[in-house]
Every structure is written in structure tokens, then in C-alpha cells.
């Protein structure tokens, strides 16, 4: 993988303030709504209640003033509110969201002219909400709820997401612990001079890193400059020959891979590399226990893992000597799937259609990859030869792309500003 010198956690902390400023800038520049969310299109009368839920119709139209997003009513009493959205002619609007304090509570996509109206229901309590119609001449409108409601949907989304991020942190810690045990076993096999055992240990240790690599890719050891690869743990653990920094030299998994598979020999240098890897994974192990995650970190991490699959596994670059690229592929995929699984309960409350379509795309990729399982091969997947790559890469690549495209839209929906 490519070295990333960005301290991920710090970037995430900074984003909280940034998003507020940018969203305000967005409102201020929106044509026709100098006051941002202070406008509302619908009648000021409370929305009619049918079957226990307030009913708000939202229509999207193309007009002389651009595409407009109109609510039948801009006020409702606390409790369940059903938004029914129909795009009659607005080609510039394809989605709509209900937001509270920049958190997305409910939304609909694929709102294009000609398709039947769709609806979503959220439970709201007394306060101001924003209806966000990206692409409309007025993008943000105020939706006001009066009174109080028990069991607000908003809180349950946040609870689900918080539970998910805590669960994911525990998963990462577990994987790094397993990785530490895995590289220790690799070192023992190398120290014993047992090439076959070392190759097997190598293949067994790899997936742990591949499952969590995007969570740790920014780690810089204290005392090192961010541009110095000598202090970048990801560089020291996982750098490939194609991206070597001559000033720092080659360390980590792939240097060991070259010895075990390319040269098929264990030398003093191999032993030194293995010892160093154990040390660096130990450092990673302690660092990873200090990590905490926001929901968008899980989403972005999962998305970045798929980017890894696309850029270095499907191409066969990652494991140039051992050709266990499909083992790494499975590791990236599992890591992404785990991150998604921890987000899914919260995401399902926000956008059930997206949650289920991402789930389906994961199944498609998983099934496609499962065709290459081979219990007799190193790491449990077929050796990724040039011939296999030629045959399998186009299909795998397209399936990953389809998954990635949808997965990449999750982060902004679960982001907690």
C-alpha cells in the first residue's frame, strides 16, 4: 500500500468544526436563499395526521427559477412524520434529506422524474429541522416540529452508531493482538530456519493487517517528522518494492516475502527483518489501543479498504513473490464488511435502502471471491497467477467497483458533526 502520512485521528477531530463552517458557507451562497435555512416552502399550518403520522408531501419541480423543492406543510406536531417525495420534473435534484444539527435523520435517493413517489417516516420531537434538497435553487428549508415526543428517532440513530463504533474499536484491537501473535509465529519459524513453516506463517499473519490497514495507515512514531518514512509504521510494516523510499530501505512483511518466496532462503537478514517486524507490530498494538472512532471513520475506512483491493490486490502488486493476493483481498474485504456491519444498525435507521444494497453488493463480491477458495493453497485461496488474474480480474474489479461506489456514500450520512 502507499504510505499515507496523514494522522487519521487528528484529521477526524478537526473535521467537526470544519463541517459547520462549510455548511453555513453552503447556505449563504445558495441562490435565492440568502438566509440559508430560514425559508420554508409549505403552508405554515400543521401537517395533517393520518394513521398516527403527520403527512408531508414534498414535490420536486423544474421552474423558471431552477429546480425547486416544495413541502405541503412546513410544520408538524411531535411524533411520527411521513415525508412522501415525488419528482415531477426536476432533473437537478436526485436526493433529499431530513437533517437535525447536520445529522441525517432520513433520506431518499434516486428521486428522478418519472419514478413513483417514495416515502420515509421519522419520529421527531419539538425543534427545528432542515430539509436538504441538494441541487435545488433553495437547498435548505426549515421544518418545524412542535410539542414533545417520546422515543425520538434521532437519539436511537446516535445510540446505534455509538454502539457500532465501540464495537468496531474492540474488533481492531482484537485483530492487532492476533497480528502480534501471527508475526511472533512467523519469527519463530524463520529463526528455526524452516522455510515451509515460515511461508505458511507468512500467509497466516497477512490477513490481520489487511483487515485493519486503513485504520492505522497514518501512524507516525513520536519524534519523527510526518515526511520521514523511518517513523511511519505503515511503511515499516507493509511497504512494497514498488514504493520504496531509498533513504529508509526495505522493511516489514514484503521484504520478508521476497526472502521466503523470491529467494526461497532464510538468511541473517531475514531473521533481522522478522525481529524488527515483531517490534513494529508491538508498537502498533499499543498505539491501536488508544484509537477511538467516529461513525464516518468506519465508513471511510471500509471505503479505503476497497480502494486497496482495487489498486493493489486485483492488480497482483501486493504479493509479488508469494502470489497470495487473494488472501489479502479477502482480508481487505472482511475488514470492510466488519466496519460496515458495525454501522449497519444505525445506517438502517437513516437509509434502509442503501444499507440493504451495500449488503447485497458485499454478498456479490464475497461469492465471487469464494469461487477462488482452495484449501490446499497457501492462505486458503488460489495462487494469483498471471493466468488467473487475466481470467478473474475483470469480474472481480467490476463487482468491487459497484460495491465501492455505494459504500463511498455512507460516510456523509453517518457523520456526526
Amino acid at each position: 500500500m502507499t504510505p499515507v502520512h496523514r494522522p487519521r485521528r487528528l484529521a477526524a477531530v478537526g473535521a467537526g468544526t470544519l463541517i459547520t463552517a462549510l455548511l453555513l458557507a453552503g447556505c449563504a451562497s445558495t441562490a435565492g436563499s440568502p438566509g440559508g435555512a430560514s425559508t420554508a416552502s409549505g403552508s405554515a399550518a400543521l401537517a395533517e395526521v393520518v394513521g398516527g403520522a403527520s403527512q408531508v408531501r414534498v414535490t420536486l419541480d423544474s421552474s423558471g427559477a431552477g429546480d425547486v423543492c416544495t413541502m405541503s406543510s412546513s410544520r408538524a406536531k411531535a411524533g411520527p412524520v411521513t415525508f412522501t417525495v415525488e419528482n415531477r420534473s426536476a432533473t437537478g435534484i436526485t436526493e433529499l434529506e431530513l437533517m437535525s444539527d447536520q445529522r441525517i435523520l432520513g433520506e431518499k435517493e434516486n428521486l428522478v422524474p418519472g419514478l413513483a413517489a417514495v416515502s420515509f417516516t421519522v419520529t421527531l420531537t419539538g425543534r427545528s429541522y432542515q430539509l436538504y434538497c441538494p441541487g435545488a435553487s433553495t437547498e435548505l428549508q426549515t421544518f418545524t416540529v412542535t410539542g414533545t415526543s417520546t422515543g425520538g428517532g434521532n437519539e436511537s440513530v446516535q445510540e446505534e452508531l455509538a454502539t457500532g463504533t465501540a464495537g468496531y474499536a474492540a474488533y481492531v484491537t482484537q485483530e492487532v493482538d492476533n497480528m502480534a501473535a501471527g508475526v511472533a509465529a512467523l519469527r519463530r519459524a524463520i529463526d528455526a530456519g524452516d522455510l515451509t513453516a515460515a511461508q505458511r506463517a507468512y500467509a497466516q499473519a497477512r490477513p490481520y493487517y489487511e483487515r485493519i490497514e486503513t485504520d492505522v495507515d497514518g501512524f507516525v512514531l513520536s519524534g519523527f517528522d510526518a515526511t520521514d518514512n523511518a517513523g511511519n509504521l505503515d511503511y515499516l510494516i507493509d511497504m512494497r518494492a514498488s514504493n520504496l523510499d531509498p533513504a529508509v530501505g526495505w522493511h516489514g512483511f514484503h521484504a520478508i516475502e521476497r526472502d521466503l518466496f523470491g529467494r526461497a532462503a532464510i538468511t541473517a537478514s531475514t531473521r533481522a527483518l522478522a525481529a524488527e517486524l515483531v517490534t513494529n507490530v508491538g508498537r502498533l498494538d499499543s498505539l491501536s489501543k488508544t484509537l477511538s472512532y467516529k461513525p464516518e471513520d468506519l465508513a471511510n475506512g471500509a471505503s479505503d479498504l476497497l480502494e486497496e483491493v482495487q489498486s493493489s490486490k486485483i492488480t497482483g502488486e501486493e504479493e509479488a513473490y508469494s502470489h497470495i493476493d487473494l488472501v489479502d483481498f479477502a482480508g481487505n474485504l472482511e475488514g470492510a464488511q466488519q466496519a460496515f456491519a458495525y454501522l449497519k444498525p444505525g445506517l438502517t435507521l437513516i437509509d434502509p435502502a442503501l444499507a440493504s444494497s451495500v449488503q447485497e453488493e458485499f454478498s456479490t463480491v464475497t461469492e465471487l471471491l469464494a469461487r477462488h477458495r482452495d484449501a490446499s493453497a497457501l492462505g486458503g485461496y488460489a495462487r494469483y497467477t498471471a493466468a488467473l488474474r487475466e481470467q478473474a480480474a475483470p469480474g472481480l474489479s467490476r463487482a468491487v467497483e459497484a460495491l465501492h461506489e455505494r459504500l463511498a456514500t455512507i460516510a456523509e450520512k453517518v457523520a456526526t458533526a
Binding site: 473535521a15 463541517i19 441562490a31 422524474p113 435545488a136 467490476r398 455505494r406
Partner: protein, 428 residues
């Protein structure tokens, strides 16, 4: 866009300048504002994108309306300079996914044809992903049309649409001289994007392809760098053999009705539609270039510079296939391309040609890899089959060309505003 497209003459049929369009639309006074409006989704970052429109409407400002009550744009529309053609395989097993894709494509094409983006280029939420890749910002509509086609696979057992299959839609039969490569053949859907700026055409295909992920995947594509057929007001362009192509193309309403638009015998939802035959034709430019001029002219049946039939002196002289030379041989050889393809010798059969020249670098032998993306619209693909079966057998041009790619599509009529291309398929 029958109301405008059907006019047989006039520059830029069916088109309005973007300034005209916006003026008609009312509230948006300057196109700069329109660009700002698009980028509205990009919030504060977008402020700089709105540049003042030039005083006069330029070619870049020509915009063809997407919605209408007649034919899709991109068929009778005067051929733009560039094309990107893409054929797709449907990968979904769910009819609803196809419906959503066609609706999203339609709304997106309507945006792109106005020179607008499809969603935000630079979203204001830091974790959001841009919907529009942005490379067409500031370029204007450039006469963009994107024409959607339905391949036979859309009507197979997967989507329950077999009862609505267009009457004449079936895979083309194998024809003489076919050298089709499976990787350049077929497709369940097609998009033909044409524009007067290549980046605008490319951006359209890129954006629409991205939108298809999870529902359809790319199958084959050709990027055409120069039109190889003319509209009625255009000078006849040349193909890569250096000869004028499309001299006797269909121009008048009667011929469109007779030979291009789907007939009353077709599915009711195809009214205003047509059929597209796409062929990727490789030209052996290196051997052609070394052929003596008298032979080139005899192969084509026309003179190279003027484009006159060998029995005439001007391009639009009507060829005389009966004329004989002193030795009693036809002046226009019977095996010349013109003689074989002429409607006089094919029971009157005509097709609307709308092709583009392409080049794809060099081939494995180091030779220039180039040819013609033959795109032809017709009432029934049998028209092409009739002509090509004959040409493939004896056309002397076959020494220099090879049909290496092929696909056939039903091209539905335009969508009315508020609807989308193919909506009738999904209504029970």
C-alpha cells in the same frame, strides 16, 4: 424532439443556444448564474465557477433539448464533431434496477445537455463524495446529445419484458466477411454521446457509466474523433480512406418516415423510435494508402477529391449504373461500394448513416489502428442486413476493411418532461 428535429433544414436542428434556453426559462438571466446554480450543491466553493457568458451565442452554447414528444436527439440532429459510444451488459436480475437506471440516465442527460453538472462536484460535507467528476465544468453544452438504445438482452427472460420486445429487435445474423470479435460485439444497453467538444462527450459517458455501477457494466466502446457523415447543411465529411462519406444520406421527411422511424407495425411504445446498427469497421489504412488512385476510385465508385460518381463530375450528380465504357464494362464497376450500396440497386432500401472516424493508437504489428464507427439508424435492421449481406459478399472494399465489432439496438422515442426513456416498458 419532433417539433424541432423534424425540420429538414436549418442550422443546428432542434437546438437552442444556451442563452436562448435560459432566456426562455425566465429567472436565470445569465448562463454564469446557471453554472453557479448547478454548483449550488457545491456550496461556497462554487462561487468562482460562474463566469460571465460571452456576448454572442457561440457553438459551445448550442443545447439540444432532451425532452420532447417525438424522436430522441442524436439521430436526426446534425452530426456533432465527436462521439463516445458505449455498449453495456446488464448485470442485475431485477427489473426495478433497470427502471431506476433508465430514469437516472434520462434526468442526468437532460442536465448534461444543458451544460449543467449531474450533482455536486465539490460537496460541502467533508465526508461526501462528489457526484459529478467535474471535467466538463466551464465547457458549455457543446451540442451534446446522448441517445439511449435497448439491446435484445433487455427483453430476454431476466426482466419479464419479452412481451414488449420491439418487433424487429433480434441479434444480427452472421453475414459474409464478418470478422467480429466477441469483446466488441453485443450489449443490452447503448449510449451514443455526441458533442462538438470531445471532453463533453467523454464526461457524459463517464458520468452515466458510473451511475450504472451495480446494474450494468461496460461491454465495448469506441471514441470517434471526427464525424464521417453529414447533415443536410453540412459539407460532406471524409472517412479515413480520404473519401467523402454519406453523400447520399437520408435528408427529407418522406425518407425518414419510410426508412428511419419505427413503423405502425411495431410495438406502440416504439412510435417515434428507430433501430441502431453499430459496427466497428477496421480500415487497413496502411495498404489502402499504397493503392493506386485509379483503383481506389474504382473500389469506391467515386472520385476522391470531388466525390463525384465515376459517371459524373460533381459530388451530388446521380450515379448512372447503366453507363458503359468503350469496352462495354460498367463505368461504375458492379463490385464498387457505391454500386452495391445504392438504393437503386437494393429495392430502394436506404439507411441513415451517422458514423464517426476512430483511431486507437497502433496495433500489435505497429500499424495504425483506425477505422470507422459505423452508426446507422433505420426502421428495421433488416435494411442493414440486406445491404451488408450483399456488400460482405462482393464489395471490393472488403480487401481494405473488416467488420470487427457489431451490435443492434432498438432506440425508443424521446421522453416527455417528467418521464424517462423507456418508461412505457415498466407500466403495467
Amino acid at each position: 424532439m419532433s417539433e424541432s428535429d423534424d425540420r429538414p433544414t436549418g442550422s443546428a436542428q432542434g437546438a437552442v443556444s444556451r442563452r436562448g434556453f435560459l432566456g426562455g426559462a425566465g429567472g436565470l438571466a445569465a448562463s454564469g448564474l446557471a453554472v453557479g446554480g448547478i454548483a449550488g450543491a457545491a456550496g461556497g466553493f462554487a462561487a468562482g465557477y460562474g463566469t460571465p457568458a460571452p456576448a454572442a451565442a457561440s457553438a459551445a452554447e448550442v443545447a439540444h433539448p432532451f425532452y420532447g414528444s417525438g424522436h430522441q436527439a442524436g439521430i436526426r440532429t446534425e452530426p456533432q464533431r465527436y462521439t463516445v459510444f458505449m455498449s453495456y451488459d446488464l448485470t442485475t436480475s431485477v427489473a426495478r434496477d433497470v427502471e431506476v437506471l433508465l430514469a437516472r440516465w434520462s434526468a442526468a442527460i437532460a442536465q448534461l445537455a444543458k451544460g449543467l453538472t449531474v450533482g455536486s462536484v465539490e460537496p460541502h460535507r467533508p465526508d461526501a463524495v462528489g457526484v459529478d467528476s467535474g471535467e466538463a465544468l466551464d465547457l458549455g453544452p457543446e451540442g451534446l446529445t446522448v441517445t439511449i438504445g435497448f439491446g435484445p438482452g433487455l427483453f430476454d427472460e431476466r426482466y419479464g419484458l419479452a412481451a414488449r420486445r420491439p418487433r424487429h429487435l433480434a441479434e444480427l445474423p452472421a453475414m459474409p466477411s464478418d470478422q467480429l470479435q466477441p469483446a466488441l460485439t453485443g450489449g443490452d444497453l447503448s449510449l451514443q454521446a455526441c458533442a462538438d467538444d470531445p471532453q463533453v462527450a467523454y464526461h457524459a459517458i463517464r458520468t452515466l457509466t458510473r451511475m450504472a455501477k451495480g446494474t450494468a457494466t461496460t461491454r465495448w466502446t469506441v471514441t470517434g474523433f471526427g464525424r464521417a457523415s453529414a447533415g443536410p447543411t453540412q459539407q460532406t465529411p471524409r472517412n479515413l480512406m480520404g473519401f467523402k462519406d454519406g453523400t447520399r444520406n437520408i435528408v427529407d421527411d418522406a425518407d425518414y418516415e419510410r426508412w428511419v422511424w419505427a413503423g405502425s407495425d411495431d410495438q406502440p411504445w416504439m412510435t417515434g423510435g428507430s433501430y441502431l446498427v453499430a459496427r466497428k469497421i477496421h480500415i487497413a489504412t496502411e495498404t489502402w494508402d499504397t493503392d493506386r488512385i485509379s483503383d481506389q476510385n474504382a473500389v469506391v465508385g467515386r472520385t476522391k477529391v470531388e466525390g463525384a460518381p465515376l459517371t459524373g463530375s460533381r459530388e451530388h450528380d446521380v450515379p448512372d449504373f447503366e453507363a458503359r465504357d468503350a469496352s462495354g464494362q460498367p463505368v461504375i464497376p458492379a463490385t464498387s461500394h457505391v454500386a452495391l450500396a445504392a438504393h437503386e440497386n437494393n429495392g430502394g432500401v436506404k439507411i441513415l448513416r451517422r458514423g464517426y472516424n476512430y483511431t486507437e493508437g497502433i496495433d500489435a504489428l505497429g500499424q495504425i489502428d483506425a477505422g470507422l464507427l459505423f452508426l446507422a439508424y433505420m426502421r428495421d435492421p433488416q435494411q442493414f442486413i440486406t445491404l451488408q449481406t450483399k456488400l460482405g459478399r462482393v464489395d471490393r472494399l472488403n480487401e481494405y476493411i473488416a467488420h470487427i465489432g457489431s451490435a443492434v439496438f432498438a432506440v425508443p422515442p424521446a421522453a416527455r418532461q417528467g418521464s424517462y426513456i423507456g418508461a412505457e416498458l415498466f407500466r403495467s
